[in-house]
Symmetry: C2
Subunit: 316 residues, 2 copies
């Protein structure tokens, strides 16, 4: 059986994951998801990126809004406001069921991996959604208004503070989840795909787990990066804003350099074709095409390109 790993954050990366889920057969795709944004809120254990994958792959996601569930209602939140319960993090009525399921699972002693598998089964998801780790890691964003948790930065302050540093609390103690770990030991792994998620906030936590960067470097399967930047713009979220705050040039070459030690190939948009030579000079093969994913067909086409491209790289 073919085995692909996709490293993924939330909404931006989930678009490609959905395409790959359509293109690959049942259980061929293993989506390893950032969990450094996970947090507890109002007594619930919330895993925003895993939830995004669960909802996207079960077609329950809200396509217009870009996050949360379709046909969502907000009556819980409205009643919370009446009671004076903090409401900066919006929890939809249907979405709550996922958090209750996860919180109950934790209380019963299950791991996040086990809980995620149970939810995936209930939602009849054919690909595997795998937390990067079953240990707690917390993204801390140092900003001009102080140290913020990821959700404070991302939701409460809508990414507006200026970022000076991103840290992952407890990353030193966190191990890759058992399934992620054993996938990296697979001899017949076809490819590792880095989805177009935020490199600093979504992919870096995964790469910063003990040994993971090194193991991706040593892995016989090709590592393919799908650029989260097209024509100087981010597909989603604060990638470009953070690059500016880090005094980085906002182009695909900077992304290529970020992944230089592990990437064998990179897929960039045709709009960025001028950078091909710069990227190949770093030692990364490039493939150009349309990588902006609006429609489901865009997602499927890009996924097909990723798989095709990976085959040309697979003899490293």
């Amino acid at each position: 059986m073919n085995k692909y790993i996709a490293l993924c954050g939330g909404v931006g990366g989930a678009k490609l994951a959905l395409g790959l889920d359509h293109v690959l057969r049942s259980e061929e795709l293993n989506i390893v998801v950032n969990t450094a944004d996970d947090f507890q809120h109002l007594g619930f254990y919330i895993s925003p990126d895993i939830d995004t994958l669960l909802y996207t792959l079960s077609d329950l996601n809200n396509k217009e809004q870009g996050w949360g569930r379709e046909d969502e209602s907000w009556n819980f939140m409205a009643a919370c406001e009446t009671l004076g319960i903090e409401s900066w993090f919006q929890l939809g009525d249907r979405d709550l069921a996922t958090h209750v399921f996860r919180t109950q699972g934790y209380k019963q002693g299950l791991t996040l991996s086990e809980i995620t598998k149970l939810i995936s089964q209930q939602l009849k998801i054919k690909s595997k959604i795998i937390p990067m780790s079953d240990d707690s890691v917390k993204t801390i964003v140092n900003t001009d208004i102080g140290k913020l948790s990821f959700q404070e930065y991302f939701v409460k302050h809508a990414c507006s503070p200026e970022v000076s540093e991103i840290k992952f609390k407890d990353i030193g103690k966190a191990k890759a989840s058992i399934e992620f770990d054993s996938l990296l030991n697979e001899e017949n792994l076809n490819a590792i795909i880095i989805c177009p998620s935020n490199p600093f906030l979504s992919i870096d936590p995964i790469l910063s787990l003990h040994d993971i960067r090194q193991r991706l470097k040593d892995c016989s399967a090709p590592v393919i990066v799908v650029s989260p930047i097209v024509n100087g713009q981010a597909m989603k979220g604060p990638t470009v804003k953070i690059m500016q705050e880090f005094n980085m040039t906002c182009d695909v070459v900077t992304i290529a350099k970020f992944y230089a030690d592990i990437a064998d190939g990179m897929i960039i948009d045709t709009m960025d074709a001028e950078y091909i030579e710069d990227i190949e000079t770093i030692g990364i093969k490039t493939y150009t095409g349309n990588i902006i994913m609006n429609s489901l067909q865009d997602k499927i086409s890009l996924a097909e390109s990723v798989i095709q491209f990976s085959k040309t790289l697979s003899t490293k």
Copy 2:
């Protein structure tokens, strides 16, 4: 300031409590509520009778359904079913906010009394809603299908099993809440009103708390029972069914006997006027009137009668 205590269970008793809340001035009414039905479900601390009082007195209750909140939606529950979460106890989307508030309060070390006061303030309720106890007491119903928790009996099995015995787990260790206790020490208490709630399931837990029956007996304020039975029928719930299972005659005299040691007065419906003599023989003064509360005006009128009647008894 006048001070009245009303002992109350859920929906049936809350109708009179609402009437009293309209008739009495701010903070004159102290509603001491049964908490033996409280339970934990899906990680939430749920106090069904307290919630009924909170919603009824803040006019948030669902008048047609008789329980829960008005304008309620059930999308959380629907999503729970998709995930295979048990759904026999229906939690509405708005109702959930109350349980989250309470559960968070417990985690912060607050008592049920403190939590209930905070919610009452947020909902701008003018009367005091006071849990009978801040200690855990659990109603256990012995039935022909085995030992059931109250909610299993009441909701899961819709009161259909035959009841042989009702017990209150941990009642021996439970103390009256501080506010209930200090109210009973008030020298100028005007009256103690036993609302038309189920005597065995809703009022008996309150009376079974250490010393409480004796203190009501010794209390200088009159104790007035509003009959939960009219013309052999219960206002609400399984009162009559349980009386039959206990081989009791289903009339107001049986209710009078149940409260004989503490009651000074009893309000029965004009339909039950034939029993006046039997009740007065027991040593309980009677007052007859319409005690079926359909409209808000019915509730207010009955509450006015209760207050008037209490004044005729107050020189005991």
